[in-house]
């Protein structure tokens, strides 16, 4: 397994898109930290990059990569290797190399300029979102045979998690405006890893005071060690469940 991961990582890290992604992230983070006069503000600007760009690149790149590797996968499947090994290696290769790209592109500037709890939270959330969206991408690509459809599906999934879901939340909030929804919102946030990540980072920043009563409820929950454990577990589940599902599909897939 380690051998295959090694080859996948070596292959991805040579990929021009990943190199470009790393450089763009690096340029954005450095300029954000150099332009803003304090590190927290820099982090706030970086927040959008972490919440929008990272999932987008992770999901689209991974989907395309899986499709482009279909021959490689075919080659490996005909060899004496477990399918599980092949699939997990592919996932880990993608997750590790995109995580490395994020770490170099955004993580190093964060550590350099804003190594506060907030910065570290953002770094961890960014890494988690990378892994989660690679996991969603491998699921999307294993369930769709056609490459164009599969990429379309990933983009739709990204759109769903970054905009549509929040739109639905907004709609839901207005439909049930007469009920106290602050507490149910904690549970709702678990249904979208991007939202959960965003809230976890915002609670670390002092802008959380703006979030009023809702913010206070969230702070209450995510401030406790139980809340942190639950939030981390939910994020890990977001990475693991799509992967397990995709593995099940891959084991039964005809190549």
């Amino acid at each position: 397994m380690r051998k295959i991961i090694k080859y996948v990582i070596a292959d991805i890290l040579r990929n021009k898109i990943v190199i470009a992604y790393t450089i763009v992230l690096l340029a954005l983070s450095l300029s954000v930290f150099n332009l803003e006069d304090n590190a927290n503000k820099g982090l706030l600007s970086l927040l959008n990059i972490v919440l929008i760009i990272v999932p987008l690149i992770s999901i689209v790149f991974s989907t395309i990569y899986v499709y482009n590797s279909s021959e490689f996968i075919e080659l490996l499947v005909s060899q004496p290797l477990k399918r599980k090994t092949i699939w997990l290696s592919l996932f880990l290769g993608l997750a590790v190399s995109l995580a490395i790209a994020f770490f170099i592109g955004a993580g190093l500037p964060i550590i350099l300029y804003a190594s506060s709890t907030t910065g570290i939270t953002m770094l961890v959330i960014g890494l988690m979102l990378t892994i989660i969206f690679v996991s969603i991408a491998v699921l999307a690509s294993v369930t769709t045979r056609d490459k164009a459809k599969g990429i379309g599906k990933s983009i739709l999934l990204w759109l769903y998690f970054s905009i549509l879901f929040d739109g639905l939340v907004l709609f839901f909030l207005f439909q049930f405006a007469d009920y106290p929804l602050e507490k149910p919102m904690v549970a709702v946030s678990a249904l979208n890893p991007i939202d959960l990540g965003r809230i976890l980072i915002l609670l670390q920043l002092d802008v959380s005071a703006l979030m009023g009563y809702t913010g206070a409820i969230f702070k209450d929950f995510f401030g406790s060690s139980l809340g942190i454990t639950i939030a981390s577990t939910v994020l890990i589940l977001w990475a693991v469940l799509p992967l397990l599902w995709s593995l099940k599909r891959f084991n039964a897939k005809d190549l």
Partner: protein, 405 residues
């Protein structure tokens, strides 16, 4: 010569006023033997009094800050005469009660009292004026270590007083730094009220007062001015009042007032107005606040002109569509318009209320979407096609460059 002596006598009345000296023992006894107009010099020593009651018009002067200790049981100085001056004492550990308002120094129904240059430490209420008239409270340093609102008193507390001058005091750690209830014609000038549990300054039913050049910093909920009219607030600093339900300045049921030349920096809301009317807000600087101003729909005839709005998360928030307020010639750093005729005034109006801030106002849990992609998207769409934000809440003449304030 014959005429001169009576004239000299006339001018030298104090010649007949005596000077007493207290060096330990009972200060009350010294006061009791003094006459009106006498001076009492008090030196640092141990004084046995529990509570000092001043019933004569004396000038009580502490030399090198003599300590008067309330031993956590008593009111330290009670002033029950006109024309009393208390100067240069260190007053510590007043009593603490949930029934009575025990203070370090308390003015009972007196005129022309001066309380000056004292240090009050760990008192329940610091300086308390009850029916005081034309009194001066100046240069005192008032500190307490309150933790909960209910178990602490106010730094300077005035009740049913008139023509008060509160100048250059430094107040910290109380419930409210300065508290006014039914106080008229007062001036609050150059005080620093910081780190108090509730409000830095709290006004209730107090009309015709001014406060000028004060610093209100890092108080639990900022400054509250309620149920008053004709209040003037000039060149104050409202800073770092950060937290849930914290305001730089909270206005409730205020009318005919002026807010000019103030600085609102890093507050959750710079100004929060509810039921306010006929208020001029001009030449203020709102910088790095969550909301620059929150103007509830219950406000009318608020004139907001020539202010700087810089780096606020939301410049203006409101909760209704009916707008009876005017915005004119302010500088908004979020303005993206242009100025073709180069008159330094933007050619298209600026709408300071963002769509998302309207949504949050209507539905507070929507704050969960704070800084999400959809919130940014909604704001952008609304800027192009206004639909939800109030039609006439806009600045028709936004400035292209910040005012130098």
């Amino acid at each position: 010569m014959r005429y001169l002596i009576p004239i000299l006598l006339l001018f030298n009345l104090p010649v007949f006023a005596k000077t007493h000296v207290a060096k330990g023992g009972s200060l009350q006894q010294v006061i009791n033997i003094a006459g009106n107009g006498d001076t009492i010099l008090v030196y640092p020593a141990s004084y046995t009094d529990n509570e000092i009651v001043i019933t004569r018009s004396v000038y009580l002067k502490g030399v090198n800050y003599p300590v008067l200790d309330g031993k956590k049981k008593h009111e330290v100085i009670a002033i029950k005469a006109n024309n009393v001056t208390v100067d240069g004492f260190k007053i510590i550990r007043s009593g603490n009660s949930s029934i009575e308002d025990i203070a370090g120094i308390k003015i009972y129904n007196s005129k022309n009292v001066v309380i000056r240059n004292n240090i009050l430490d760990d008192t329940f209420f610091g300086i308390y004026s009850q029916y005081g008239t034309n009194c001066t409270i100046e240069g005192n340093k008032i500190s307490a270590y309150g933790k909960a609102e209910l178990q602490s008193g106010n730094g300077i507390h005035c009740w049913k007083s008139d023509s008060m001058r509160i100048i250059n005091n430094n107040i910290t750690g109380h419930r409210d730094g300065i508290y006014f209830e039914f106080v008229t014609n007062a001036i609050i000038w150059r005080n620093n009220s910081h780190g108090n549990i509730r409000y830095g300054l709290h006004f209730m039913f107090s009309n015709n007062d001014s406060y000028v050049s004060n610093i209100f910093e890092n108080n639990g909920a900022g400054v509250a001015v309620m149920y008053s009219h004709n209040v003037k607030m000039f060149r104050n600093f409202f800073e770092e009042n950060w937290g849930d339900a914290a305001y730089g300045l909270l206005l409730k049921e205020i009318s005919d007032s002026y807010i000019e030349g103030n600085y609102f920096t890093r507050n959750t809301s710079g100004i929060f107005m509810e039921g306010a009317s006929r208020i001029h807000v001009s030449k203020n600087t709102f910088r790095s606040n969550g909301w620059g101003m929150k103007i509830q729909a219950s406000c009318m005839e608020i004139n907001v002109e020539r202010n700087n709005f810089l780096n606020n998360t939301f410049d203006v928030g409101t909760n209704g569509n009916l707008v009876l307020n005017k915005f004119d010639k302010n500088y908004w750093d979020k303005y993206e318009g242009y100025d073709i005729n180069k008159d330094k005034i933007g050619d298209i109006p600026f709408r300071p209320v963002s769509m998302y801030s309207m949504i949050v106002e209507k539905n507070p849990p929507a704050m969960i979407l704070f800084r999400s992609f959809i919130a940014a998207l909604l704001d952008k769409t609304e800027k192009i096609l206004p639909s939800l934000t109030p039609e006439n809440l806009k600045d028709d003449r936004p400035l292209m460059k910040p005012l130098s304030l």
